[in-house]
């Protein structure tokens, strides 16, 4: 049986798709057969981040409607043969998805894959609901600012009350916090919430802190998940996240400002 992971946030623009691509690639690189699904029907992005936009023929909606089978729609990643992408439809809207259809697709994927990563759209409407409904684990991507934290909190409430696990009274979804676009210097100057502030409000198991990084934009433009950029801070941070998710213990990195050392030195 596959483990179904939803990457969600409530708020838009916090790095859900970047995270989905990075952790799916990270899991696949570790040898686990992984599928990543774009639930953002109508605003398809995952294919761009994964660099497979020119190979999309059939999509998630086609599979749900029975117009194509899964093998026709799944795109094998060019960097890692353990990773497959199921793209969203760009010409439809979220109503093209339905609970039963999504359930069937996930069930079929479960036979063959170890991990299924669901890239949720922003918001708390149907698309986000369907993305999280069948999940076993949730990566809640949050930026260190108040509106993102509140939206994440809202999403956590939905995970706890509206998911399949909640409805069937099963063990609840495991929730993990992923703090992204973290800028230690701006935290120090009080412009951003600190890791401690966010943890105090959300009280979640922290899986990692992704620093604000130019590498993320470069990776998106190149269509290569940032985790493959092993020299970059964001790439290393995502590699840590994947390792921690798989049970390794790694110390937190990228939470102190570069200036920290000099400040200490000069007492500034």
């Amino acid at each position: 049986m596959a483990r179904i992971v939803v990457v969600t946030s409530g708020k838009g623009g916090v790095g859900k798709t970047t995270t989905s691509a990075a952790i799916a690639m990270g899991l696949a690189k570790k040898g686990h057969k992984t599928a990543v699904i774009d639930f953002d029907v109508g605003l398809r992005n995952l294919d761009l981040i994964m660099g497979c936009e020119r190979r999309v023929v059939y999509d998630f909606v086609n599979v749900i409607n029975g117009e194509a089978n899964l093998n026709q729609a799944l795109i094998r990643d060019k960097n890692c043969n353990q990773l497959y992408i199921l793209p969203a439809s760009q010409t439809r809207d979220k109503d093209a998805l339905n609970l039963e259809g999504v359930g069937k697709v996930l069930e079929e994927l479960s036979k063959d894959f170890k991990y299924i990563v669901c890239d949720s759209p922003a918001g708390i409407e149907k698309g986000a609901y369907l993305a999280m409904y069948y999940a076993d684990d949730a990566f809640v991507v949050t930026n260190p600012e108040v509106s993102s934290v509140r939206d994440s909190d809202r999403m956590l409430g939905i995970l706890a009350s509206k998911s399949r696990r909640a409805e069937l009274n099963m063990e609840p979804i495991k929730e993990y916090l992923l703090l992204s676009r973290y800028d230690p210097e701006r935290v120090e100057s009080g412009e951003m919430l600190s890791l401690e502030d966010v943890q105090e409000i959300l009280s979640l198991h922290l899986l990692g802190v992704i620093p604000e990084s130019k590498a993320v934009l470069n990776a998106s433009n190149a269509g290569i998940p940032v985790v493959l950029d092993e020299k970059s801070d964001a790439g290393q941070a995502y590699a840590d996240v994947v390792a921690r998710y798989l049970g390794e213990k790694r110390p937190l990195r990228f939470i102190d400002g570069k200036k920290g050392f000099f400040r200490k030195l000069f007492g500034g």
């Binding site: 509140r150 909190d153 409430g157 706890a160 009350s161 409000i201 009280s203």
Partner: protein, 241 residues
């Protein structure tokens, strides 16, 4: 003495046992009631009681309201309301100074049932069930933004209550963690209800409809356990311990 200090109306609630009848046999009812009273004389003597005829009327069993009321009074119970009666029963009750209750029960505090006649049994089978006070609602998971919790009793929350969440109880509210959302105790008007929490950072707190918003809570010391209660129509916030 000025006019306003003579009297005022305050919303309040009180508990009374609800006597649900399933039989119209006065002798049997009398016997069972006497047994019950004998088992807890302190509780039942001079106690108000509300009687509920809906089960009888549902099954078209006629009951003599006058006889029932005089029986209750004879047993030193005070009938304070009739529930589930038809028009003529209600009229009769009113003539005997027993008011009508529309049946908006708040989780009947104490329930007394006298079991209906078993059709197959030759004798009346009577079972009296006594329910205890509605137990407190217990929540162990965080109450997240956008979630609402309503308890028709006391409400005990062991996890945090996030900003944007709303918790309401007809009784007391206990939050053994940080309270950031809105908390409303005594929502049906119980002015004795209290609110307890370990760290008060609430957006709004209210007891029996009297409220304060976070604007008014700025001076409250954080990270300290507090209780909130009503005194002379004002919310008092007091550090515990």
């Amino acid at each position: 003495m000025n006019q306003s200090s003579i009297l005022d109306f305050r919303s309040g609630t009180f508990f009374a046992p609800v006597l649900v009848l399933y039989s119209n046999n006065m002798e049997m009812i009398s016997q069972r009631l006497q047994d019950k009273i004998a088992s807890a004389p302190g509780f039942f003597s001079n106690s108000p009681v509300l009687f509920d005829l809906s089960e009888l009327n549902k099954n078209d069993i006629k009951v003599d309201v006058e006889a029932l009321i005089s029986l209750l009074r004879k047993l030193s119970l005070f009938p304070v309301g009739i529930r589930g009666g038809d028009a003529s029963q209600e009229k009769r009750a009113l003539e005997l100074s027993v008011p009508l209750d529309s049946g908006r029960s708040r989780g009947d505090a104490i329930l007394l049932e006298i079991q209906k006649q078993d059709d197959t049994a030759s004798e009346f089978q009577t079972v009296v069930r006594e329910a205890v006070r509605t137990p407190a609602m217990m929540i162990t998971q965080p109450v997240r933004s956008g979630q609402r919790v309503y308890a028709a009793s006391d409400l005990v929350i062991l996890a945090q209550v996030s900003a944007g969440a709303e918790i309401m109880a007809e009784g007391n509210i206990h939050v053994y963690n940080t309270l950031r959302g809105r908390a409303l105790a005594g929502v049906q008007g119980d002015i004795e209800a209290r609110l307890f929490c370990l760290d008060l950072q609430a957006e709004l707190i209210s007891i029996a409809g009297i409220y304060k918003t976070s604007e008014d809570l700025k001076e409250v010391s954080r990270k300290k356990p507090v209780q909130v209660y009503l005194r002379d129509q004002a919310l008092i916030i007091e550090e515990l311990g």
